[in-house]
């Protein structure tokens, strides 16, 4: 049982004014803005409006600001990066229960095994003074979501019980604040009884009610993935992402580098992004993975009602009703949507769009801040492709598994993910291949040996090479899929490891002869007697020098020496462009290789690399965390994986 104090309204006002006068904290409270309300710094307790219904945007702006500087960098020095933290102690007065619960949810994401240091710092520096709701917002359905009252997650909780306020002590931090700046007495039994009365009366005032219990949201959503309602509503969607901007449980962000006009220094900034925006899933090559408005519209509801419940065990909607107010065509309100779904069926099995998997914590230190590395070697392979050897300046080995990736920063330009193309080593050297497609790649290609870049990683889940021991291996790659594949192949053909694996077959298709990456490696593999290596090109002009096969990578399958291996004991690894998977996997199945023995590596927009920013999601999973390497048996259930 939490300790409860009481305070006259006059004393509460002077408590707030004393806090403001102390100048120890940025004292934030709910203020009126026209007919609506916002969180803002208080100059006087007179501006505090605890009788508000709902604020325009939630208090998440104090933990994940609309625009947040993550680090400063110099363009004059080779590598000079400094993370920037907000050290401002802050008290936020007037946080409604549903927003407290929303904050606890973003804690689950931002303070998980890979803690976001910027968020953590802000969270530690903030004292939350919650308040029980006094006026129900017209669009709110918090009572249905059981988020209209809250038991913990606050430092203090203020309840208006008529003539006085009761203050429930949530934490030691809250208690000390109250003792230092306020005058209270123990609440009487009568007063404590009133708290419940106040809450019960208020709970009965909700006009908006969800017919489906939140425990059942995942079941209704899963059963209706293909329902026509997504498209019907999406036709009306303005794609403005107002719904995600005002949502207390939407925490996706984009990152940009901004450079001062003096070109001497710059900053890396993150800003709210929204999954309703088309460019949200766009990768460097221009591909958009959730191209249809319908897919984006559905994704938002599934993330709230199915994906996050699978991952964290909670429905990521707290019923504040802000999206319903913000949406111009009025299609964003989860209450309306779920009530519509109530007319359709539900399904018990709710985990279909998620992969439960233990992910390893790969990044140590401040997860968003790169460490420095030096470009050691640059080799231009073709007009578009350049090979880089990089060395970490801390002289530690990268320590990656084949299939993992790194985020490479060129400060001032930005950051982009690259598959590591070299096998694991004991040295601080590693290799990547860069194809000219966007800003970062173009800049990298113009750099010189000795230049510095930033590295984060290794990131993601790679291949578990141990689990492949004693098996035959078929490697099938298309285009730049060879980049991460080379890391795997050179690992298994290495003398140290070769004995552990049986027959090895390499199938590789490139668009044109000049687009074959790592030709020297390919030549080497061809020379090795204990493996079969077949290469093909889609197309070859008469002017091009090419004596090998012409045709898609699937044309190589008949050449595989089937007598050499038993398909039951064979692992196939497939990495290539999205269109390739379907056809190659069909060939593998024909050969008798089962789905659970097929592994794939998928490309998505991996921006943060640590499961926070939301861009790389394939249904419920993060490509940057659970992937990019997946077991086909598991990933094939996710409709967004191979669409």
């Amino acid at each position: 049982m939490k300790k409860i104090q009481s305070m006259s309204k006059k004393d509460f006002t002077s408590f707030v004014n004393t806090l403001i006068a102390s100048k120890t904290y940025d004292v934030v409270g709910v203020k009126a803005k026209g007919e609506r309300f916002v969180y803002d710094t208080l100059d006087t307790a007179d501006d505090l409006r605890l009788d508000f219904d709902v604020t325009i945007i939630p208090p998440k702006k104090y933990f994940l600001p609309q625009y947040e500087q993550m680090m400063k960098f110099s363009l004059e020095k080779p590598f000079d990066v400094h993370p920037t933290f907000d050290d401002q102690p802050r008290v936020i007065i007037g946080v409604h229960p549903y927003d407290i619960i929303a904050l606890q949810q973003s804690d689950a994401v931002y303070l998980d095994d890979q803690k976001d240091d910027f968020y953590k710092k802000r969270r530690q520096n903030t004292i939350l003074i919650a308040c029980d709701i006094q006026k129900v917002s017209e669009r709110s359905f918090a009572a249905s979501m059981k988020t209209n009252i809250v038991e913990d997650g606050f430092d203090l909780l203020v309840t208006n019980i008529g003539n006085t306020y009761t203050i429930t002590i949530g934490t030691e931090k809250g208690k000390k604040l109250l003792e230092k700046y306020g005058k209270t007495k123990d609440a009487t039994t009568e007063e404590i009884k009133k708290i419940k009365q106040v809450r019960d009366t208020l709970a009965s005032k909700y006009k908006q009610k969800v017919k489906i219990d939140k425990k059942e949201w995942p079941e209704y959503l899963v059963a209706n993935y293909q329902n026509a309602i997504w498209e019907e509503h999406a036709d009306k969607c303005m794609e403005c992402s107002s719904c995600t901007m005002v949502c207390p449980t939407c925490y996706c962000y984009d990152v940009r580098d901004l450079v001062s006009l003096n070109m001497k220094d710059g900053q890396r900034l993150r800003t709210w992004d929204g999954c309703m925006l088309k460019e949200f899933t766009k990768v460097g090559s221009g591909e958009v993975f959730r191209d249809d408005t319908k897919e984006r519209y559905r994704h938002r509801f599934f993330r709230k009602g199915n994906y996050l419940p699978q991952r964290y065990g909670f429905v990521a909607c707290v019923g504040c009703g802000r999206c319903g107010i913000a949406c111009l065509p009025n299609i964003a309100d989860p209450c309306d949507l779920m009530n519509e779904l109530a007319h359709f069926g539900k399904e018990e099995e709710t985990g279909r769009y998620f992969i439960k998997q233990k992910t390893t914590v790969v990044e140590k230190g401040i997860i968003h801040v790169p460490r420095s590395a030096t470009i050691r070697k640059i080799q231009h392979l073709s007009d578009t492709d350049t090979f880089f050897e990089l060395e970490l300046d801390d002289k530690k080995p990268l320590g990656h598994d084949p299939g993992q990736f790194v985020e490479v920063s060129v400060f001032g330009i930005g950051e982009a993910p690259f598959g590591v193309s070299s096998p694991p080593t004991d040295t601080p050297l590693f290799e990547i291949m860069v194809r000219r497609i966007g800003n970062v790649t173009t800049k990298l290609i113009g750099m010189k040996p000795g230049d510095k870049v930033g590295i984060r990683g290794p990131l993601g889940t790679g291949f578990n090479m141990k689990s492949f021991e004693g098996k035959n291996l078929i490697f099938c790659s298309g285009g730049t899929g060879m980049v991460p594949m080379r890391s795997v192949i050179n690992y298994v053909v290495d003398k140290k490891h070769r004995d552990k694996y049986k027959n090895i077959t390499i199938l590789y298709g490139a668009k044109r002869p000049k687009e074959i990456v790592f030709m020297p490696d390919v030549d080497n593999w061809k020379k090795v007697h204990d493996l079969q290596c077949e290469v093909t090109v889609d197309k070859c002009e008469p002017t091009e020098c090419w004596g090998g096969c012409v045709g898609l990578v699937t044309t190589l399958f008949p050449k595989v020496r089937m007598d050499k291996f038993d398909s039951k004991n064979t692992i196939a690894i497939v990495i290539g462009p999205p269109v390739m998977y379907k056809f190659v996997i069909q060939c593998l199945k024909t050969m008798g290789i089962t789905d659970d023995n097929i592994y794939v590596s998928l490309e998505r927009r991996m921006k943060c690399g640590v499961g926070k920013c939301g861009h790389c999601q394939i249904n419920g999973i993060y490509t940057c965390k659970e992937g990019p390497v997946f077991n086909y048996q598991q990933i094939k259930q996710l409709p967004e994986a191979f669409e």
Partner: protein, 254 residues
Amino acid sequence: MKQKPRVAVFDFADCEGCELEIADLEEEILDLIEIVDIVSFREVMKEHSDNYDIAIVEGSIMRPIDEQRLRKIRSHAKVLVALGACATIGGINKIRNQWMPDEVMKEVYGNANVKGNELFNVNKTKAVNEVVPVDYYIHGCPIDRDEFKHVITSIALGKKPEIPRYPVCVECKKNENICQFELGNFCLGPITRAGCKAICPTNNSPCEGCRGLIKKAETECVKEVLERYKLSYEDIRRRCTMYNYGREECGVDE
């Protein structure tokens, strides 16, 4: 030391307000001239040179002589930047495209004898990219100075500037504004390109669409919103006239 890129600023039919925004960089103008050599900028200097790498072009293109001049600029410049709504989308000057050029001439000059005078020979108004290829766009009426800086530093760094392709609503929500529709106003924010930091709605004035439309005005979703707020297609067409005349059906074009 590497030679600084040479920049020339030109104006066509416009109010020169966007150029003024550059001149208004105040002390940062010193940073600007550290990274580029400004060789021509009529609004702020007397000197002129035709030897430049980057041409920044303000204004809409109204006459055949303007087209000739613009083509010449394009042929000198390695990079051409369209500056401000008049240049990027035609802007306010396109209002006159509602009428034929001779009707406009008659309305303005009456019976004055201007025949044969090339200064008075007008076409329909064009945006810069309707005459020559444009490499980069700095949208707005007027431009946003931060975006100008972003585009200039991006060009200097050799990167493609990141210009939003999403609607003003995104920035408006971040600014915690009460929606203009909620206040009973008709705002073009939902179909207008962001990047202005939602300056108009933030200052209590609905968006007029100066950064160009990113959605066709006649789509299912727009109809839905118009209906809900008791507006008609005619209303939106009329609203678009100010900056986007003839562009209601374009959607996003670059």
